[in-house]
Every structure is written in C-alpha cells, then in structure tokens.
Symmetry: C2
C-alpha cells in the first residue's frame, strides 16, 4: 500500500510543498517483514487468541497505519508531506568517529549514525510525523500517547503541532520527575503532559492504589493513553516503538546509513550496534542491514545493546505477552520480562520497557541478530568518552550502543579495517542531570 | 594569512583526517574588512589611546588569532582540522519555513539558516573550534572565557575537549542560576564553570563587594576570565563574540546561506534578520551578504534585532568603550550602553552585552545595516509560533530574529515573492524554563 492510495484526495492539502526534497531523503520505508525467512508471528486477540483482525485495531490507530502493521510489502511509499518534513533534518549525518578512533588506537573504522539533529533531538520524529500525518488525513483531531524518557512524547507533540492535532502525553513518573525539561518541551509545542500513573484514568487510579510508591513504567503509561483514546471518538492512540509500523517508519535510518557508507567508500558495515528498548531505533537502523543480509548475502552482524537493569532479550522469555500493564493491548509475540516488571529508574528511561518489538524478537529468535546487556556505569563512562572525543553528548539510551562498540574494540575483538556502525539515537542535552550525577559519583 | 602559514609543521598532527570533507563546507572564512568602504576604526591601547599593537594582545590570544584580528585579507583559509570538525554539522541547513508561510498567509518566501544542529546547539562552535585549534597548535594548555546564556561556554568546553585543552568558564550569575543544564553540559565536556562575579578573582571579589546583589553581566565575567588568563603563562583568554576574528570565523554561516539560496533557485536574499548581542551570529550571517552588496551591487537589507532591554545599537552611543566592566580590554569603537550597564536578566542571556562588535558598529554607522529593538514578550510569542509551525524551539536569542521577520510580514511590509532570511542561531532546548515561564504568564 502507499499513503497516496490511502487517501489521495487530501494528501496535497497537508503538504506545504515549500521546496524540492533532496534525493538523498528516502522515498520509501523499508519493511523487513518482506524478507524474513519465516513470517513474524501475528498479534493475537487476547480473548480469542486468534490473530487480530485489522478492523479490531481501528479504535486505536489510523487505517493507513493498521495496513502497515499487517503489510508484507517490501517498500511503502513515504507520503510527500511526511518526506517534506523529514527533509528538514534528513538524511541525518553518518559521521566518522575519527577522533575517537585515534584516542582508542584502533584501526577499525568507526561511524555513528546521528539522529540527534532532529528538532526533538532523537530518532522519534521519524515515526511521530508519519503517525500524526495519517491520523490528520483520516480526520482524527487528538492523539494520546505514553513516553518514557520524554523523547517520544516531545516528538509526537511536535508532529501534532505541525498537523494541528491535539496531543495528550502520559509520562512515566520517574522521568516526569527527573526530566522536567521534557514536559516543558511538550508544552511549548502545545501538548498536555501528565505524570503516570495519573488520577485522570481508571487504570491510573487503580495503579496508584495498588502501587502508591511506583516509579511508573511504560506499560502503565500505555494503559492510560489507550484508555483515553478509546473513550474519545475523535482521538486515536499513538505508540512510539514496539509495533511493526513504527519499526517500518524508522527504516529511514538504516537505509540512509547503507547509502552513506557507500558514499564514504565502504563496502558495507561489518558490525552494527544499536540500543535496545522497545526496538524503534534498533529496528530502524538494523532492519535494512538485515534485509541486505537476507537478500544479498552480506554478513553484517547486528548487535542489540540493552540495559542490564531491563534485559528483555538476554533475560526475558520469547512468548506472547501484553504491551501494557493493564493487559488491554493485543498479545504480542516478543521477548518479555512480563508486564509487571518495573525496572529500576535508570537514566535511560527510553529503554525501560518490558518487551521487545515482535519483528526484532522474531529476528533474534531466528538467530539473525544478537544481544548483550550492559550496566549503566559502563554505558555512561562510554558516553562521556564519546562526548569528549566527538563533541556530541549522547542520549542515555544511545550510550548503550556506544558502550557496546567500545567494549568490542577495547576487548580486542575488532579487526583492522573493520567497519563498525553505532546507532546514535539522540543527544543527551535534556538528560544532563544524569551526566552531572555520574560525574559526581 | 592562512593558518597553515602560521604553523605549517604541526597542523597535520591535530587533524584526524577521518574522511573527506564535503565541498559544501566553506574552505575559507570571509573577512568583510576587505570590502568595507572605510577601514574599521582600530582598537586602542587604553593608556596611550594609540592603536593597539598585535604584540600587546599576546598575553591574551594566540598569534594566529591576533593576525586575524588585524587582517584585511578578504579570505582566510580554514585549517584542515577545523574544517574536518565543521563538517560534522556544516553546511548547516537553510530551511524553507513553508508551513509558517502558509499559516501567515504570506507570499513572501521565508527561509531560516539553522545553527542549532551543532553539538552545542548554536553557532558558537564555529569560532570555539577555531580558537581552541590555534591555541592548541601554539602550545597553550588552558583557555578561560565568559559566557552569558551558556552557549559560548558550552561550545568552548566542547572545542577544548576535542583539542585536549583545559577550560575554565565564568558564567553570568543570572544565567548560572537560571540555566543549570549549561553548567552540566560544560562539565560533561570536562570544563570547570563558575558563577560570575566569583570569589576566584580580584575583579570578581571587588564586584561582589561593590554590587552584592548583581545579576552579573558579560562585562564582569570577561574581566574575571581575562584576569585568570593573564596570570597564568600557559593560559589564554577566549572571547565568543565582539572581536573581529570571531566575526570572521562565523562568516561560514552567511557564505553557506548565499550558496544555499542559489541552490534553492533564489536570486538572493531581499532582507536578512539576525539577532544582535555582541554580534557573532549577526555578523556571521550578515557580513557575507554585506560583502556581496559592496562588491556586486546587490541590495540585501540587513536588519539587526536587539532586545529592548539591552538596546546597544538603537539606544547606545557610537564611541570608544571598554569590552569589560573592569576596563582591562583594549578600547573598542562600538555602539555601547556603557560598561556599567547591567541589563534586566532577560531570558536571552546571549544578548545581554553592553556593546556591539566594532565591525558591525562601523557598518551600521556607515548606513550599511539597520537595527530595531523588540521586547521579550513579542520575541517569545514569535518563538512559540515558529516552534509550532516548523518544529524547532528557537533559542531565546534567535526569537529576536524571528520576531523581526514576523513583524515585517504581519505589518504588510513584505512584498509577494520577496526572499526573507532569518538567522536561527540555535535551539532553545536548554532554555525551556524560559518558555515554560512565558506559557504560564
């Protein structure tokens, strides 16, 4: 399907067509479901345990997004208005970390794909803009969502401002308290932001009674955002990770990286490190490389780096589980720590999710991707080393990918001339208190 | 002069030469002093009131920077290691504000030149990297500086990290208190940051006695940073604005904008709005357009937009004055409100300077540039309007340039088809409390 098929009559109205979009901005999203050797296990209706039908998702999502959730088409056209907005910061830079290489004394060639140049400072707008767009053309006037670190909430708030949608965000309590700038960012874009669990929803009130001292979790915040969306006929819900359509939107990252490596004279990547939360950045970067492995026989190693405090892949089970705490979502086949798992309030709030995207869980289960878990002190040390060599202070989430690559190099696993790619999902400029705390310890 | 003439033997050692620098990254800085119809009045020795000699500045600055301060060469080669670092975020994007145009209902074509994609989030690294580089190759091991909003301090901290220099920053008290994230940013890069006036210097201690309740000023912080540099034989001082060499470094902004407008199919800019503090962003954006006006007869209008709370151009006098409160700098011929002027602690800390760069003051005095002053409520309203249309939350400083352009359009002065360029000097992601305060009022 393409978006222009979805609603050809209204597409043009939302595009501002201000200027030609450079050819380096991808024209299509890539869907790895077309290339996987076995189909991704379907999402299930929790009542019947039968594969969920597209129409059952319509209270939550725009039709075009549901179609993408089920699509096995390899390429999905990016609507012109979305591509126009992408072009403000895409292609995002692929940067040779030459000074870091020099300080490490490695002869491997280290690159990072940097999503922090987006207005919200992370990769999240890649899906937020697409989701806001499809909802706007289908007549939704309000989106609700959850946010962990605040990057997704800020990105959806931004996207809703661009498409004149109302936006209501439930931010995980520990992040809401620790990262007040994120709420201010959302409010500047015109969104509302609430600490979750809140007293605005039945599920929130129940969680506040059951777990009065909870630091919150993405699972809880999802329950609240879904509840609000389902009760409002003009509202839809929006998820920033985990689901297939989100991973598809994020594929611009990996597609660009492949082209940029070519332009830099590299044959390809030998190993790619991505941080693993719900899977949006990891999948966006990795899936196009995985597709290349599957179609062209390249042998790029794909490594998910997750926090030791929330090790859904390395310590979780691969089974059907809910996406939220109140068990209102479809059942998703994924690596999971269980919906009741509440990780420690680590700085990398975006990685505090109990599960992993079904697409990536499937790929990992098939042995097509690897995973490691690293502790926070190691990831922040790597983040500071990176900042002082390359000038960019990484998001706490991104420090996981950096730490994975640095560990690989420092432990002598990297070969001379090897090409290593780090997924730098965002900058840490709104996470500076986490760095300040690390430096003071 | 070129930097490679300054120290050909050591240049290569500091470059990491990781990858080819794209041809779109300028190869030379542009020096508008070569094209002005009359020479910029020289800086004076305050004792003799004679033009200051280069060697008199050597306790403060690297020799290569002093040579640039006096240079009338039109183009100065950018050293390879500096250009390599620039290429991480340069050319910075020139973006058509098509959605804002649509919301305004204007048929003018509105562009913004966005410097917020740099690691520090503003244009300041353009000069910080150059200054750290020249100091490093000349053997300096420590730089001291002042910072207002924190953008310059963070940028110099970053540049010092890249070139392994120690960095000591005096941050204006009102900003230090209001913007704690900036200090954390500097410290993450490994720098030290102190509230000014501090008790670490004679000048600071004197100011604390004379003005115990002061909110601080750039002039005071400059005095402290200079005092520390002068007393330490291994240290130099670094200034983020005002001086000729800083305006020269920032010329990459305007040079790129001219090329990018061409690439977008425009004949040129009709009018350019830049925010006016000490003149670094304003000069960097405007000077190449001014040079074009002078050499090629184009008629681009250049408008400096300053805060009503610190109106150095529109309310100040054009005369010789000191750059700092303790009157330790050379005398600079500039528009000034007097060194004792302490502006209200407005959010745009980067615009709280009593004077204006001598190069730009001279151009304004010759009638080659214009200036207006706008109040904070108007600039923040423009900033919020911009954020919700274009997705980028502007730095408080940058909101002045936006407000100038919006006022021009809304008051009906913009003609159909006119090309308007806004200098978006940085993003406001570390200034979100200022937006939160504005929204709550």
């Amino acid at each position: 399907m393409t978006s222009s098929n979805a609603n050809p009559s209204t597409n043009k109205d939302l595009g501002v067509q201000g200027y030609a979009v450079p050819s380096e901005v991808p024209t299509h999203w890539y869907n790895v479901m077309a290339d996987l050797p076995e189909a991704v296990p379907p999402h299930l209706n929790p009542g019947t345990r039968e594969p969920i039908k597209p129409e059952e998702l319509e209270p939550l999502f725009a039709k075009a997004l549901i179609a993408q959730e089920f699509s096995t088409e390899r390429y999905i056209e990016i609507p012109a208005p979305v591509r126009e907005i992408y072009s403000q910061w895409r292609p995002s830079p692929l940067i040779r970390a030459a000074r870091l290489e020099q300080r490490l004394g490695t002869k491997a060639r280290l690159y990072f794909k940097y999503e922090g140049v987006s207005p919200a400072g992370s990769h999240k707008p890649n899906s937020a803009v697409a989701q806001a767009y499809y909802n706007a053309i289908e007549g939704t006037t309000k989106l609700t969502t959850e946010t962990g670190a605040g990057q997704w909430g800020a990105s959806l708030a931004m996207a809703c401002a661009l498409f004149d949608l109302e936006c209501e965000v439930y931010q995980v309590r520990s992040s809401f308290d620790a990262k007040p700038y994120r709420r201010m960012q959302m409010e500047t874009y015109g969104a509302s932001c609430y600490s979750s669990p809140s007293d605005r929803t039945e599920s929130g009130r129940k969680m506040r009674v059951d777990f009065p001292d909870t630091s919150g979790s993405l699972g809880m915040a999802i329950s609240e955002a879904i509840e609000v969306a389902v009760k409002d006929p003009n509202a839809h819900y929006s998820l920033g990770s985990v689901l297939n359509h989100v991973v598809i939107h994020q594929s611009v990252i990996g597609q660009e990286a492949i082209e940029q490596l070519k332009a830099a004279g590299e044959k390809g990547a030998d190993i790619v490190f991505g941080c693993a939360g719900g899977g949006s950045n990891l999948g966006g970067l990795s899936a196009p490389f995985l597709g290349q492995n599957l179609r062209e026989g390249t042998k790029t190693r794909l490594v998910a780096v997750e926090p030791a405090a929330c090790p859904s892949i390395t310590q979780g089970e691969y089974r059907y589980d809910f996406g939220d705490t109140s068990n209102t979502t479809p059942l998703l086949k994924m690596y999971t720590l269980g919906t009741d798992f509440v990780p420690d309030p680590i700085h990398a709030g975006g990685l505090r999710y109990h599960g992993m995207a079904p697409i990536l869980s499937h790929a990992i289960n098939l042995g097509l991707m690897e995973a490691i878990a690293l502790p926070q002190d190691q990831t922040f040390a790597a983040g500071i080393e990176f900042a002082r060599a390359e000038g960019i202070i990484p998001a706490p989430e991104s420090t996981h990918a950096i730490a994975g690559a640095l560990d690989y190099i420092k432990s002598g696993q990297a070969q001379d001339g090897e090409v290593i790619v780090i997924g730098l999902s965002g900058n840490g400029n709104l996470d500076l208190p986490a760095y300040a705390q690390t430096l003071s310890e």
